[in-house]
């Protein structure tokens, strides 16, 4: 036994020495300041895979970087919200990134806090709102206009599917959680949309409580369909899948929110909005690389500026949506895209 442990001891010390040698072997070369290309960190508050908006942000940043010869590193923060602040702080602490790009309404607050310690660090937040004397640049997408468009579409559909029975017309909205954008812009905008079509239509609004529980989403959606809603706008991240399942079973319909969703379930997803995070990211990052982006820039853009829209040129849209609905939608889209109808938000 003693001999055995001795052997182990020798073995383990040998391994340790090997390891120390291997560490000592790697030293880091410093690149001189001048030759250093503009370097960008993209912080994803979540993971890229399965999150179209984050993927769009990443693509937009990379496009801008390739065009301007900048380097990009994407860091996934994972789903533990408690760690995001620490991770972005670590990025800023490196002092090697000229710019940190991120996207999530919760991030501007964190970035401002971090900037107190690293005042040199520049940030761009997509999906964030600016404040007075902001040092963090933000890009705010007009969710009210997007929700208004989708609300109108839901209203048109609800009208076209209405039987002669006298039951109240309902449209549904499922959210992963309540958050300021949802309560202040999306829900009111959506409601304004279908009330614009017919003020008798009622809203059935449900909250899942997280962004991943597809089975709960499915339960809620089934209940909503059973209670008279024909169409549900789902804004629930990974839990959207549950709404799709429920819609398929009930032979009802789903509206997709922030990226082209028609192909996800043909004939079930009959309408889809899009938030062009890629475009916003590309433009803002290009400006930042060129040095023309003023610190604390706050942009708010909607349908007429081309940053949020309803997708009406997808083959599935043509195929599954009745022509009468599409014609009404065309008219509205025209008015919104040309800026005749605008729903400004005060952020």
């Amino acid at each position: 036994m003693i001999i055995k442990t001795k052997k182990l001891k020798i073995m383990s010390s040998a391994l340790l020495i090997l390891m120390i040698l291997s560490i000592a072997g790697c030293s880091k070369e410093e690149i001189s300041e001048k030759d250093k290309p503009f370097s960008i960190a993209v912080f994803v508050p979540g993971v890229l895979a399965g999150s179209p908006t984050y993927e769009m942000m990443d693509q937009g940043v990379r496009k801008a970087a390739v065009r301007n010869g900048a380097s990009v590193k994407t860091i996934e923060g994972g789903f533990n919200q408690a760690q995001w602040a620490e991770q972005v702080t670590a990025l800023a602490a490196e002092k090697s990134y000229d710019l940190i790009v991120t996207s999530n309404p919760s991030m501007p607050e964190l970035c401002r806090e971090i900037q107190k310690y690293y005042p040199e660090q520049d940030f761009i937040n997509l999906e964030g709102s600016g404040i007075k004397d902001d040092q963090v640049s933000t890009f705010f997408f007009n969710h009210k206009e997007l929700a208004f468009l989708l609300g109108n579409f839901a209203g048109f559909l609800a009208e076209s599917y209405k039987g002669d029975e006298n039951k109240p017309m309902k449209v549904g909205l499922i959210a992963g959680q309540e958050y300021p954008e949802m309560n202040n812009y999306i829900k009111p905008g959506f409601e304004m949309g279908f009330k614009n079509v017919n003020s008798d239509i009622e809203l059935d609004f449900r909250i899942i409580g997280n962004w991943y529980d597809a089975s709960k989403a499915s339960e809620l959606a089934s209940d909503m369909y059973a209670n008279g809603a024909d169409i549900i706008l789902t804004i629930a991240g990974g839990a959207n899948q549950g709404v799709l399942t429920a819609a398929k079973n009930a032979q009802k319909y789903v509206l997709w929110y922030d990226s082209n969703g028609y192909a996800i379930e043909q004939g079930v997803v009959v309408g889809s909005g899009v938030i062009r995070e890629d475009k916003a990211a590309e433009e803002m990052v290009s400006k930042a690389i060129e040095g023309t982006l003023k610190r604390g820039t706050s942009i708010s853009a909607g349908v007429s500026e081309g940053y949020v829209d309803f997708i009406d040129d997808d083959p599935n849209y043509m195929k599954f949506v009745p022509i009468t609905v599409r014609e009404k939608m065309d008219k509205l889209l025209d008015q919104m895209r040309t800026g005749k109808i605008k729903l400004p938000v005060d952020n």
């Binding site: 036994m1 003693i2 055995k4 442990t5 182990l8 001891k9 073995m11 383990s12 391994l15 340790l16 390891m19 291997s22 560490i23 790697c26 030293s27 880091k28 993971v47 590193k73 860091i75 996934e76 923060g77 994972g78 789903f79 533990n80 919200q81 408690a82 620490e86 991770q87 702080t89 670590a90 990025l91 602490a93 490196e94 999530n104 309404p105 919760s106 607050e109 806090e113 971090i114 107190k116 310690y117 959680q177 309540e178 958050y179 300021p180 309560n183 409580g209 997280n210």
Partner: protein, 355 residues
């Protein structure tokens, strides 16, 4: 003689495990990282490169000392507490509720009350498993785990429902007042004064174990419960009491995270503290003082994969994967060590523990 052999055997085993962990980490880094030398450099040196990572490492060290110590207490009495996450979470939410909703507290009374509430919440949760074990012989390994999982869902509901901060985009409770926030060091890192609390806790537990009658009895029960029973000890008490103590320490881990780091209970923040506490305790091998180096090794590994992830091309999932491997290796080592006692999955090893 036998004692020194055992101690040496344990240390040698631990060192082998850790070396294996490091080798596996290096292999992973070499396989998956595009800039290999850089990621290896950052993996090993990263945690010490700036005050921020040192601070964050010491901050996770603090939490791991609390949770590792808690599990050590349970192990010492030969009981299992797998409910770490739920107990940390209940401690955190109890502390937050006290500090946010109880009016008229000053910073001192707030600290004391919140800590007591956290310890009581965690202790009660674990204590239930002890009572179940004594009453109906329900295995505490199962009951603590299941209870914790159920409680996590209830607390999630509280955070996303009644206690949710409607002003925040995060899933979090309201923030505690600045007067309740612990002293921060090496800002903006997470390090705070609860690190002293953790070290004091280690001292206290060591004192209880080795210098009090109750500690002695607890250790006897841990070594051989039947012997303790026939020796006239109240063995039932030494199932519940260590579990309560263990849960209380985990509750304190939760309250120290609330008062020192997040200043609110953020949904799911406990992730990685509860289970890693078990790994810390396994390395420490039921010696409360050994929790300190053991927690440090773990905090270092955490921070190493974190910095490697941030600085070099090191995918997010890989960090967790390395930690999972650490956990696997360490727990499988302990399985072979304690085979005759707990799992009996493996045949008795030569040189196994002779108690």
């Amino acid at each position: 003689m036998k004692r020194t052999n055992r101690l040496f055997g344990h240390m040698a085993g631990t060192i082998i495990t850790l070396v294996a962990v490091l080798i596996i980490s290096i292999i992973f880094l070499l396989l998956f990282s595009s800039d290999k030398s850089e990621s290896i450099y950052y993996f090993f040196a990263g945690p010490f490169l700036n005050s921020l990572s040192i601070g964050n490492m010491l901050s996770s060290f603090t939490l791991l000392v609390f949770s590792g110590l808690a599990i050590t207490v349970a192990f010492k009495a030969d009981v299992f507490n797998l409910g770490g996450e739920g107990q940390i979470y209940s401690g955190a939410i109890a502390a937050t509720a006290v500090l946010v909703y109880l009016p008229g507290l000053n910073s001192f009374s707030g600290f004391i009350l919140a800590s007591l509430a956290a310890a009581a919440a965690g202790g009660m949760m674990a204590g239930i498993s002890g009572v179940l074990k004594n009453r109906w012989n329900v295995d505490e390994l199962i009951s603590s785990f299941l209870l914790s999982n159920a409680v996590i869902h209830i607390i999630d509901y509280l955070i996303t429902g009644p206690l949710w901060d409607k002003e925040s985009y995060l899933l979090t409770t309201r923030t505690i007042d600045i007067r309740f926030q612990l002293l921060s060091f090496l800002r903006p890192s997470n390090l705070n004064s609860s690190i002293f609390g953790a070290l004091i806790a280690v001292g206290l537990i060591t004192f209880i174990f080795f210098f009090t009658k109750q500690g002695y009895e607890l250790r006897i029960c841990g070594m051989n419960r039947e012997f303790a029973h026939y020796g006239g000890l109240n063995t039932a008490f030494y199932v519940t009491a260590p579990l309560v103590l263990s849960g209380a320490l985990l509750g304190l881990a939760g309250s120290s995270a609330v008062m020192g780091i997040h200043h609110a209970t953020i949904k799911g923040f406990y992730s990685g503290i509860g289970w890693n506490g078990i790994a810390v305790a396994l390395i420490a091998g039921t010696n409360p003082l050994a929790v300190i180096p053991s927690a440090f090794i773990f905090a270092y590994l955490n921070q190493a994969s974190e910095t490697a992830m941030l600085k070099a091309d090191f995918p997010f999932e890989l960090g967790s994967l390395i930690q999972a491997i650490v956990f696997l290796l360490i727990s499988s080592k302990i399985i072979s060590d304690k085979a005759n006692g707990i799992f009996a999955l493996f045949p008795k090893k030569k040189g196994g523990i002779v108690d």
